[in-house]
Symmetry: C2
Subunit: 237 residues, 2 copies
Amino acid sequence: MAKNNAKQDLKPISNPKISNSVEDYLKAIWMTAQDGAASTNALAEQLNIAAPSVSAMLSKLQNLEFVVYERYKGASLTESGKAKALELLRRHRLIETFLFESFDYSWDEVHDEAEQLEHAVSSQFIERLATFLDHPTHDPHGDPIPCPNGNLPDTPNTALAEAESGQSFVVARLLSQAADVLSYFAKLGIQPGKELKIIEFEPLGGLVHLLIDDVPRALSKELAMIVRGDIVKTPTV
Amino acid sequence: MAKNNAKQDLKPISNPKISNSVEDYLKAIWMTAQDGAASTNALAEQLNIAAPSVSAMLSKLQNLEFVVYERYKGASLTESGKAKALELLRRHRLIETFLFESFDYSWDEVHDEAEQLEHAVSSQFIERLATFLDHPTHDPHGDPIPCPNGNLPDTPNTALAEAESGQSFVVARLLSQAADVLSYFAKLGIQPGKELKIIEFEPLGGLVHLLIDDVPRALSKELAMIVRGDIVKTPTV
DNA sequence: CTTATAATTTAGGCATGGCTAAAAATAATG
DNA sequence: CATTATTTTTAGCCATGCCTAAATTATAAG
Ligand SMILES: [Mn+2]
Ligand SMILES: [Mn+2]
Ligand SMILES: [Mn+2]
Ligand SMILES: [Mn+2]
């Protein structure tokens, strides 16, 4: 008859199972500010939660020592908070990879499912999953998967918009979580691994003309900022 | 800026995402009573939740029309409640099968993980999973996996305790969720698919002596009631 | 440097799902 | 059938997270 008698000690022994919400907040802080401070509004926006609720949660996270928070000045992760955030990010991206590779999820479907599953899986599950997938370093969007120790694999990060006429560009990553943006890229055939040939940049509007699978296409500057990768001087033969 | 403005209409349009708790209660009612009525205490026991909490939840389930509930007389599932319960059971058992087959989970580890995951996966995930596993009919414990329409595949259900000296018995199912019981069976090599030879039953204590993988073993009557399967008159050659 | 605007916090609620202690109903027993 | 024992419900709390409306504080403009 053990029941739920945890009652909470003053300093929780160690693993009082962080709630889904707390996990998502920590991840959001990391995504918004990495090592800097994330503002209340930015987090409210990211999480789609009203600002006062965020305010309250930031105080709570401070008590849990996941965050350093000063009123009106935003919150930044402590070491322990950062570790939790990266752990969740690892889970999220491994799950996305799995859904994409093994379950034929489309590119813009993986995120929502992973957003839920990330909270439900055990660490045993995650390590078995990593093994099953042969320890991938990047997810289907090209985002780096944090290692168990929190290291982030290197990731090419030159924007397509920074390339020049005549160059080739290998896509490594798409810096967007918006489903409509992602499926638009998918429709164009722009995905990690794909090689693009830049025909030319328009002088003023910033439009870029390029060849995707030998088909001529045009992309706005905004979208060309989202596409990240490497410039290749010597096109593959 | 949609926010969480659902507010709940009088009759919820259709899918206001049932909570984990509600799902677990419905499953517990099904497991405790199938089509009959489950008592408050039985559910409290199953779910490891205090009886007053169960009482409150049963009223709530009645309002949601998942249950017919009369004070002091227990609750029984409505059609809609039963459908939800079987849907969850399907998720649970498919997930257990997956963990066992693809992730090398041991037999007694699958349950706890599935207990969480079952609430987090979408129906898209579940149908992809079913395809991935090639539409299994039974989980690693031999429990039938409900079909999407709620049908339960047939399952051999003769207790080992009902067999007779000299007969062979093919294990199909182990009617227990207790991790210690399951790992004890695992240690003995008793698992779905295994063929046992019954040497003899002790006349009074009910102990059964049998051959498992040609090794002589003894099993108590209690355990022999948990092992379910088919009696085979003609041992395989 | 004052005022208008924007960001953030406080105040006050609400829903969900737990708990314990005490009352009430049902079931079992002499 | 009266009394005890068991089961179940009621009453009263609490924690978590979310919300809106109303301060308050910071920031930007004039
Ligand atoms: Mn999430
Ligand atoms: Mn991703
Ligand atoms: Mn569950
Ligand atoms: Mn099972």
